[in-house]
């Protein structure tokens, strides 16, 4: 060792081979979930919320792009409007009016929250508490919307 120059001594890494091998194994293990998902094709998964198939149910209260971004604030506003202000009709941007109701308006078309709401919410890891109290029609009956006259 004594006859090596200073520059050369700085290049030496004790147990270098083992350390680098260990590091590679470590990196491989820690990134395993990414590799695994890439190989099994899960990274290309796109949530597909089911659209209502009926012809008369093609139109949402607002355009799709608006709903996609703002459905949470819209629902929040609806809640506030009904509960706090007693205003039970919603005038959409196209001047049509809709009754403000999660069940009668939203879930009347998107009957199954598992096939609609949950698709994106689960993908994004979002939890909400809507269905702790509100009941979606599909939850009770497999058939057509069962609305019992109160």
């Amino acid at each position: 060792m004594e006859n090596l120059s200073q520059a050369e001594t700085e290049k030496i890494m004790y147990d270098g081979k083992k350390i680098i091998l260990g590091l590679i194994i470590f990196l491989g293990l820690i990134t395993y979930p990414i590799w695994h998902n890439t190989v099994s094709g899960k990274t290309s998964y796109v949530p597909k919320p089911e659209s209502p198939t009926d012809k008369d149910k093609k139109e949402c209260v607002e355009p799709k792009a608006f709903i996609r971004v703002n459905h949470k604030t819209l629902l929040e506003d609806w809640k506030f409007s009904v509960v706090r202000n007693g205003i039970r009709t919603y005038q959409a941007s196209n001047k049509k009016t809709y009754p403000i109701s999660l069940n009668r308006t939203c879930m009347n078309c998107h009957r199954d929250k598992v096939k609609f709401c949950d698709q994106c919410h689960n993908y994004m890891g979002v939890t909400n508490k809507c269905w702790d109290c509100h009941i979606y029609p599909k939850q009770l009956s497999p058939g057509p919307l069962a609305m019992r006259e109160p």
């Binding site: 706090r84 001047k95 109290c133 009770l140 609305m147």
Partner: protein
């Protein structure tokens, strides 16, 4: 081309007229539908109240629960099966407990153990509203003491504040205790207080409260106190009116007549 003043004014006038045609058309062709929902001002002209005619109520068969069943069915009120967890929007209590001040040595004998129908008094000055730290309960302009179940944190201050015991707390998840769920009305969750809401969701559809509709004896009268010719005002005319604990100053709007 030469312009005199007259020609200039003509052209200017015509141009302005032309420019205003499109916006004018837009304004007048799109007359907005009037919103049927009530505003705060229209609500303030109303004061909902209920009259319970005890004589008529007692003329029903023993143990009549028509009003309670109707209310609890449409509002998804669970039947918990035990008194500790009980959720009640309408309930009954014996006469001498509801009106302890009426208990005289002999005269009250007739009424003893008669059951009196009880519900939230929809007070003018509700103590529960004062106590609620989250404003989950508040008094609407038409006098209905509302609950926002979304907002309730379950502190139960309102229950401590209410002198009438009108509020119930969901100690357990109520959903499994509801026999037939009514889709039109949500259920509640564990940790939320609930009470009678004077059927605010039915009033919005111009229906009378479910208990009033369900009573076969017509013992319950519902209406607007601010209308002199309303049914409640007529029911109260020339009668001796009782309220529960009027001395507390909460100004209850559920009246009892005997």
């Amino acid at each position: 081309m030469q312009f005199d003043r007259r020609g200039f004014l003509k052209i200017t006038g015509l141009t302005l007229l032309g420019l205003s045609a499109k916006p004018g058309w837009e304004v007048f062709s799109n007359i907005d539908q009037p919103d049927p929902s009530p505003t705060a001002e229209t609500l303030a002209k109303i004061r909902w109240a209920m009259v319970v005619d005890l004589k008529k109520c007692w003329s029903a068969k023993e143990g009549c629960r028509d009003c309670i069943d109707a209310c609890h069915r449409i509002h998804n009120v669970p039947n918990m099966g035990n008194l500790k967890d009980e959720i009640k929007w309408i309930w009954t209590e014996s006469y001498e407990k509801v009106f302890p001040e009426h208990e005289l040595e002999y005269s009250a004998e007739d009424y003893r153990h008669r059951s009196v129908m009880l519900l939230c008094n929809q007070c003018d000055d509700p103590p529960c509203v004062k106590y609620c730290p989250t404003r989950a309960t508040w008094r609407r302009e038409d006098g209905i003491v509302m609950m926002d179940f979304h907002r309730c944190i379950g502190c139960r201050y309102c229950m401590a504040g209410c002198p009438y015991g009108s509020r119930s707390f969901n100690w357990r998840d109520p959903r499994s205790f509801i026999k037939n769920i009514n889709l039109e009305y949500p259920t509640r969750v564990r940790g939320v207080v609930e009470k009678c809401n004077f059927c605010v969701e039915r009033l919005a559809q111009n229906k009378i409260p479910a208990c009033v509709e369900a009573c076969k004896e017509k013992a319950l009268v519902f209406g607007d106190l601010k209308k002199p010719d309303s049914e409640v005002r007529k029911a109260l005319q020339n009668r001796v009116i009782y309220q529960r604990q009027p001395e507390l100053g909460t100004k209850p709007k559920v009246y009892y007549i005997l």
